[in-house]
Assembly symmetry: C2
Homo-oligomer: 357 residues x 2
């Protein structure tokens, strides 16, 4: 036998991100504080601040070269997006965002004007979402890093989790999906062409301005939850689309112990997103189902309650069902009629696999 001087080292790739999160949860154990209503299981943590009132807390870190490329991410949009993705997590619990802290890791090649531009984007987002930045930290770093935390507030009875979906609910999506991924495709291709063709390259961004904006500065759907409150209608289950519709519907089904039947022709897709997919010779449903970063909301609601909502603000994409096969809780009826199991990240079930950023 060999003597081992060092304890065993496991590569993170062996267990994946979700495996790593499970390890960390095991290390920390279950929250002991009675005031914690919900810990790391949903989009944001929920804790009581007063009789019937809760606060919600979420955090996200964006790292240069991993989550964004400074070559095509304007810094103002970066600031806006960093707050948006956190606000989206609060909104995805049906709560109002209130306060934020922003830590910025700043590499040496960053000017004061660049940092100001990031803060202008943050300030724009604060205005859009009625959020106040109350603190933060600025430190030196090797790559530009933004770490944002947002506190939200709600009545405890108003908070909506992933776990409330009931058989018979309609599965609905706000806005349109797949546009952020289409925007990323265009931006990546433009960067490639710029490198190949140099100054002669004309990016023709005008024809793709919607999808590019959806990728660079996606808005959080605060207006949707405000509309529900005004209409007195409350979804049973709610989540935002960061990983793609397929993954989010799986999260809802897993948490709620239900299945879902989705319909491909019902997926809400902007014409510009379709044009990009056509341009690339790819299946636009792949963008919509697996693209992610749309920050639209997926919710389930009984059909009768939907009547209270403005039909312009959402699309029904399927139903909550009792799954025939618990291993394949989500089915997708394709445009040509076939009903296939939908994997959370199942590009392989489709004709083509879009590239990863």
């Amino acid at each position: 036998m060999e003597a081992h001087e060092h304890p065993q080292q496991t590569a993170i790739s062996e267990i994946g991100e979700f495996g790593l999160i499970a390890h960390m949860r095991d290390t920390l154990g279950e929250p002991e504080a009675d005031s914690v209503v919900s810990g790391v299981a949903d989009d944001a943590a929920v804790y009581r601040v007063d009789d019937g009132q809760v606060h919600l807390l979420t955090t996200d870190m964006l790292v240069e070269g991993i989550h964004f490329d400074r070559a095509f991410m304007p810094l103002e949009h970066l600031g806006f997006k960093a707050l948006s993705v956190n606000v989206s997590d609060i909104v995805a619990m049906n709560a109002a965002p209130r306060y934020a802290t922003v830590s910025v890791g700043i590499p040496q090649n960053t000017s004061v004007e660049m940092v100001e531009t990031i803060y202008e984007g943050l300030d724009q987002a604060c205005g859009a979402y009625d959020v106040t930045i109350v603190g933060g930290d600025t430190v030196a770093a090797h790559g530009l890093t933004l770490s944002v935390s947002v506190v939200g507030a709600a009545a405890e009875s108003d908070v909506i989790y992933r776990e409330g979906a009931q058989v018979g609910d309609k599965v609905c999506v706000t806005g349109d999906i797949g546009a952020s991924f289409a925007g990323l495709k265009v931006l990546l291709r433009n960067r490639e062409r710029l490198e190949e063709e140099g100054e002669d390259f004309d990016p023709k961004l005008d024809s793709y301005s919607y999808v590019i904006r959806r990728h660079l500065a996606p808005p959080a759907q605060l207006k949707a939850i405000r509309e529900w409150a005004d209409a007195g209608a409350q979804p049973h289950a709610l989540i935002d689309i960061s990983d793609g519709l397929a993954a989010e519907v799986h999260h809802i089904c897993e948490a709620s112990g239900v299945g879902a039947q989705l319909y491909e022709p019902a997926l809400p897709i902007d014409p510009e997103t379709r044009n990009v997919a056509t341009d690339f010779g790819e299946d636009v449903s792949v963008y919509a189902l697996f693209g992610g970063e749309d920050y639209e909301l997926v919710f389930t609601m009984p059909e009768d309650d939907l009547d209270a909502l403005d039909p312009q603000t959402y699309n029904v994409v399927g139903e909550v069902v009792t799954p025939d096969d618990p291993d394949d809780p989500v089915l997708l009826q394709r445009a040509h009629g076939e009903n296939v199991p939908l994997q959370p990240d199942g590009f392989e079930h489709f004709d083509d696999s879009p590239p990863q950023q």
Copy 2:
């Protein structure tokens, strides 16, 4: 005249960290929300959650190669310290820490076991401070990065700011100071020797175990604020020592519109810290005044109120005074009797300048 294609770019070094923070505050403007009691001006932000009750929010980011060196920072201590420094900011407002989020940026050369070890340190700190980690984010990054946010709670009337110091108060310090800096000196020298002497090098860490621990895993002084609550004594002004005693007393004086007279012989310094300074042929008062990262508390309190406290838990290091010269609000009476203006980061007023990490 030259044509400028690009707007002016200012190096951050030209305006410094405090200049940068001022720029960012200008960009964001003053907090508009009525519920915000105090924004970015103190150790943590304060906002109302209920009649008479406030929450506090703080965040800190630690970056590999900037704030810590993996060569001598055990990952367990890194996890402990990342939570400690945030808890210290909450404690420095006389509030109890409650909830935390932890975002970890993980470089490729990091194993599952290494991440687990960081979380073991975080879990230890959760136990020590009665904090629950309720959420977080794990992302890929170029250097190991920990971004922690902590929410604290207090009665609004119990929150202590930097701005409450009154002429006649005693200036007090919990525990001892300068030890963290002494520990850093020893660790840096050991790394240098290890590089020079290789495996023959004996670090003799035992003789410096206290100061090394104070650098690697400084505790937040939650027990001090609990003692004050039990004793019914409340400081007028409070801050924690992250930048060094001299800087923190300046912060209190500036916020409170007062001056301070400090006494060098009164600085509480551990014998081991003195030994390190002697070893390096340096002035131990420099460690205590400018070293920083002690995470002890500086507070001002009337002498009568101090009677209620256990004299073992603090040292009086000076008095709050009306400054003779507003440009030099803090004076230090040196051991040999001379009374000199103390600069916030004024190594130049002393005999030797310790190196920066």
